[in-house]
């Protein structure tokens, strides 16, 4: 990675994936899934605007990528079974 401004490309370009940029740090509430209520309909996965609700393979329970989840709560709002609760982050 870069050490000083002299190492930077002349233009602000990045060749690595956005997955390398940790943007989850400003979250104040996090989604917590209750698997007992989850019917694996993946509405949360469809609605997440940041691709932070991940499903490894069909049939799995969804899980949250906390390195990128901003805590917007859309998943919780869209869940038809109320299986996702937004819980305050404790620092």
């Amino acid at each position: 990675m870069y050490k000083t401004y002299k190492d930077l490309p002349a233009e602000p370009v990045a060749s690595q994936s956005t997955e390398d940029v940790m943007t989850g740090t400003w979250r104040t509430i996090r989604p917590v899934l209750n698997q007992d209520k989850c019917i694996r309909c993946y509405m949360c996965w469809k609605f997440c605007p940041d691709m932070s609700m991940t499903v490894e393979k069909e049939g799995d329970y969804p899980s949250v990528d906390l390195d990128h989840c901003k805590g917007c709560g859309i998943c919780s709002n869209e869940c038809p079974r109320g299986a996702i609760k937004m819980v305050r982050e404790i620092l």
């Binding site: 870069y2 930077l8 002349a10 233009e11 370009v13 060749s15």
Partner: protein, 393 residues
């Protein structure tokens, strides 16, 4: 070949000769005839470019940023409210390091409506990171557009450039313009080869989120490129002179400044009037000089300090007013002269299309010579020509 034309047509011919690939425009007085001439040349097949008529200046600049990313040489022109509407994308063009060249026909910004010339529109954009070059005549507009591409696209610069022509005074006034041949221009201006073009075989992110850990460093790179541009502008002008036989004095043109008692700093077409008056005054034995501020960004602080060594009394002609304490050019000159024992005064005039007459220039030089003799200024800012009930001008 010498032809009679206004600065707007000269700018359009420069775009043709520079082999511009994409021109995205939105009409605004007094720039419109640049766009019209371009459309005409593209339609007639004299120019091989994509001509796009956009829905606003904001969109025009946005389109060029995109086009520049894939390696197109890009061109637009605007003025006044149009430049103001473009402001957000002016900043973006700098941050994205796109070498866009844009003539601006400098004009007042409303309200109330005023379509005529002054420098307020371009002065308002001085902090964006664009390089700003003021032209004195139509030939200089054509030549400066060509030089601007060479500097802007230099891998060490990669910043956009405004080529400033005074609205109506240059944009709509016909003068002799020597149009270079395509062969000459091709020798001067190599094709644009961006280092990081948008390319499906080399995927990368452009303009993505920049976190606080590197933002400062990228802003610093812009600062550094503006500094490097000083030397690049001089180099480009030297190479230009070798091929075309014309040059314009680099960052700041000194006209009869040696041994002067008083010097007036002027940008744009009013410098011509100032030189005319300086010639007459010199014949009468009055030692005045003119320093034409050609490049405003980056600001020629070194050149101004050299001026301070030539004369103690220095006037600055501001064709705009930056509300605060004195005009923008005045404040920059004053700041550059800070270490010196100079006497400096601001002359605000020529606003909203009011002519800068020989009479005004004579009044300014008389005032400066009086200040030089007395060794002190009476007031910092003078609005020359102001209808204040006196018969001074």
């Amino acid at each position: 070949m010498i032809e009679m034309m206004n600065a707007n047509h000269a700018a359009a011919h420069a775009a043709r000769l520079a082999r511009v690939d994409v021109a995205a425009v939105y009409p605004i007085t007094p720039q419109t005839t640049i766009s019209e001439k371009l459309a005409d040349m593209v339609e007639k097949g004299e120019m091989d470019a994509k001509f796009m008529l956009m829905e606003s200046e904001h969109s025009a600049m946005s389109a060029l940023i995109g086009a520049s990313y894939v390696g197109a040489r890009t061109f637009t022109a605007t003025s006044s409210q149009g430049l103001a509407l473009m402001h957000e994308m002016l900043m973006w063009a700098v941050g994205a390091r796109r070498p866009i060249v844009m003539p601006v026909t400098a004009r007042a910004i409303g309200g109330p409506w005023n379509i005529w010339g002054e420098h307020q529109d371009v002065i308002t954009e001085r902090d964006t990171g664009w390089l700003q070059i003021f032209c004195e005549n139509n030939q200089e507009v054509l030549d400066t557009v060509l030089m601007a591409y060479r500097v802007a696209e230099d891998p060490e610069v990669m910043l956009p450039i405004m080529v400033i022509e005074d609205g109506f005074i240059l944009s709509h006034t016909v003068d002799n313009v020597d149009i270079p041949t395509q062969e000459q221009v091709d020798r001067f201006l190599p094709p644009f080869k961006p280092e990081y073009p948008v390319d499906v075989d080399r995927p990368m992110r452009h303009g993505g989120l920049m976190m606080p850990d590197w933002w400062t460093e990228f802003r610093y790179l812009i600062y550094q490129s503006q500094e490097v541009a000083r030397g690049k502008l001089l180099e480009a002008e030297k190479a230009f002179e070798e091929i075309f036989g014309r040059s314009y004095g680099g960052m700041m043109e000194y006209y009869k400044c040696e041994d002067a008692d008083a010097i007036l700093v002027v940008a744009g077409s009013a410098a011509g009037t100032a030189k005319e008056v300086a010639d007459r005054y010199r014949e009468e034995g009055k030692k005045v000089g003119v320093a034409r501020l050609r490049v405003f960004r980056p600001f020629p602080s070194e050149e101004v300090r050299r001026l301070g060594e030539m004369a103690r009394t220095i006037g600055v002609f501001d064709r705009s007013y930056t509300f605060g304490d004195g005009g923008a050019m005045f404040n920059e000159v004053r700041s550059a002269l800070q270490p010196m024992d100079s006497i400096i005064k601001d002359y605000v005039s020529g606003l909203g299309g009011r002519d800068v007459t020989v009479k005004y220039m004579e009044w300014i030089f008389d005032d400066l010579l009086r200040i030089a003799a007395e060794g002190k200024v009476d007031r910092t800012v003078e609005w020359v020509g102001l209808k204040d009930g006196t018969e001074r001008w």
